[in-house]
């Protein structure tokens, strides 16, 4: 496809499109997997390698992210007969996916390995609950947490809400505008048999669900699930021999921060998030701009996180995120659909991987699970987005994933097809 004229670069241009995502895989999104994170990670990585048309012996790099709630790479490697030339398990949740893809590119560029599997395995509902209830809620409060958890300011929703609230104050953003994110993602999930929640919700149902912490209603919050997810990255050259059409990595920005990342609220405007800084790396590195993007994957731990990132990465003017997410743009059939699998709000919570997986499938033109299969084994997409119908976006050549750790930290990636 034709690319717009180059603007500026902060990476060597030759890295653009030099690496590709060749395999994606996941386990079933459940509440109560009944298996260990080792098993979840093993099945997800195995599925991603299979999807790539590779063998475990072809993988020689492994990366994972976790927060003391998962299994290290070496055990997954052992289960699958992978002998890593490099592995690293990092501490982290949201925004790790894109950041680790950037690290994988660096590893291969440095000649340290040739194909990297990245996984996240979590029993986020049945073991270590991502919302922070259970064992995490009664751990001793010390160090920096003395200025947070001691005040009943612990869960992600509680920690992020002053940002969300201030955005409503600064820009007049209305609850029902933001609730449209859940309503639209639930429409997408209703066309995704893999989604944990397939039920469609209306904006009214979202804003009339009970409050968790203002401005968040229950249905503004994502679903905690148990799942393993995995992605295989290799060079664009090797990708030619893999099973699916190539999905090329155009540019990455990893865990970019607002000032005062020790406590980002010290530096305002607090209604601005890390994307405001990350976009100055993402777009020049990718050689494209937000107007060129066909599909977004904006992290939806909460309805608000989707909106704030789309705004700060420049998909609309600052302050107009409420209108952008509620005017139909982000719906399947709209100008630029977001989280076509239903995302964290509906499909399942993976700390970002399922949104990258979905965009890989969109770029392969293979996101569908419902349309009729032709004699060549490929879906005949109907582009009829009614409940239970098609999920493939008709024109999908460029995607952007916007990963969120917290208001002060984010990652992003642009991918394209051939």
């Amino acid at each position: 496809m034709a690319m717009p004229a180059e603007t500026d670069t902060t990476i060597p241009k030759y890295l653009r499109d030099k690496y590709a995502i060749v395999g994606v895989g996941e386990t079933t999104y459940t509440r109560g997997s009944g298996i260990t994170t080792r098993a979840l990670g093993t099945w997800a990585v195995r599925n991603a390698i299979e999807d790539a048309g590779l063998k475990p012996a072809d993988i020689d790099g492994m990366l994972s992210y976790q927060s003391g709630d998962s299994t290290f790479s070496t055990f997954i490697a052992g289960d699958l007969g992978i002998r890593p030339n490099f592995y690293m398990d990092v501490f982290g949740g949201g925004s790790s996916t894109e950041a680790l893809i950037g690290i994988a590119i660096g590893l291969m560029e440095a000649g340290m390995c040739k194909a990297v599997a990245i996984f996240r395995a979590m029993n986020g509902f049945s073991q270590v609950r991502i919302g922070g209830t259970g064992a995490r809620s009664v751990a001793p409060v010390s160090g920096d947490a003395l200025h947070g958890r001691a005040y009943g300011w612990q869960s992600a929703g509680q920690m992020f809400s002053p940002t969300f609230m201030r955005h409503m104050h600064d820009y007049g953003t209305r609850p029902e505008q933001v609730a449209a994110v859940k309503a639209i993602h639930s429409e997408h999930a209703s066309n995704n048999p893999k989604a944990f929640y397939k039920k469609r919700f209306t904006v009214d149902e979202v804003v009339s669900s009970r409050f968790i912490c203002k401005p968040l209603h229950l249905l503004d919050c994502c679903v905690e699930t148990d799942n393993g997810t995995a992605i295989v990255v290799t060079s664009a050259e090797r990708a030619r021999d893999c099973r699916h059409p190539r999905v090329l990595i155009r540019g990455v920005v990893g865990r970019c921060n607002k000032p005062r990342t020790d406590m980002h609220y010290q530096h305002g405007p607090i209604s601005t998030v890390a994307g405001h800084y990350a976009r100055d790396i993402l777009w020049p590195n990718s050689g494209v701009g937000p107007e060129d993007i066909d599909v977004t994957g904006s992290y939806d731990a909460f309805t608000f996180t989707t909106m704030l990132q789309l705004e700060d990465y420049g998909f609309c003017k600052k302050g107009e995120g409420g209108a952008y997410v509620s005017d139909g743009t982000i719906r399947l059939g709209g100008r630029r659909p977001n989280n076509t699998s239903g995302g964290h709000l509906c499909e399942g919570y993976t700390h970002g991987q399922n949104m990258v997986i979905e965009n890989v499938r969109q770029l392969r033109h293979d996101a569908d699970d419902s349309c009729p299969v032709g004699p060549d084994g490929k879906r005949r997409h109907t582009y009829d987005y009614r409940e239970g119908g098609c999920r493939q976006v008709k024109r999908c050549e460029l995607t952007a994933n916007l990963g969120w750790a917290n208001p002060g930290t984010g990652s992003a990636m642009v991918m394209r097809n051939d």
Binding site: V138, G152, W153, M165, M263
Partner: protein, 172 residues
């Protein structure tokens, strides 16, 4: 000296190595709010840090700071995560811009000090007070005494200050 104590059913723990937090909470225990002032550039900082966020100087001294300001943003928690807070919902977590050093070193910065809305004796505020407070509400610092050497700074409505006619609240 390290401190272990229980507050609202939560174990709090400051170890011997954490000299910044030990000093911070010692001043709070004397109900005399202090922040670190950088010896090189003269800026105050919050929360306690090892070096200056603006000039990286490791040297600082503790300075008395007036505990008054206005609510910059907040959340009103209805579904508590920590068991100890469940009997106190809804409660407010406030981010308060101190009057001291507001808008410095840049217009977007302030010493934004976290605390709950409490009554003057340091207990979590009842619902009628929670409903009154929003962005812009003037508050003053009060303390919840936990143990020797450890009190938590909190916020209460500043009855002596002129209040905005209508502080901004989440639309009901």
């Amino acid at each position: 000296m390290s401190i272990q104590a229980t507050y609202l059913g939560m174990p709090l723990d400051i170890n011997d190595l954490d000299v910044e937090n030990l000093a911070y909470f010692k001043h709070c225990a004397a109900h005399d709010f202090h922040l670190q002032k950088c010896s090189a550039c003269g800026l105050l900082r919050y929360p306690p840090t090892t070096a200056c966020p603006w000039c990286a100087s490791p040297k600082s001294e503790w300075m008395a700071v007036e505990g008054r300001g206005a609510v910059h943003s907040y959340t009103e928690v209805h579904h508590a995560i920590q068991p100890a807070f469940r009997q106190h919902t809804p409660y407010l977590v406030l981010l308060v811009d101190l009057d001291t050093q507001k808008g410095k070193p840049t217009e977007h910065e302030a010493l934004r000090v976290v605390g709950n809305l409490v009554t003057p004796d340091g207990t979590l505020a009842p619902p009628d007070q929670v409903r009154k407070v929003g962005i812009g509400t003037r508050v003053r610092m009060v303390y919840a005494d936990v143990t020797e050497g450890l009190s938590l700074p909190h916020w209460t409505i500043d009855e002596s200050a002129p209040q905005p006619a209508k502080p901004w609240r989440y639309p009901e």
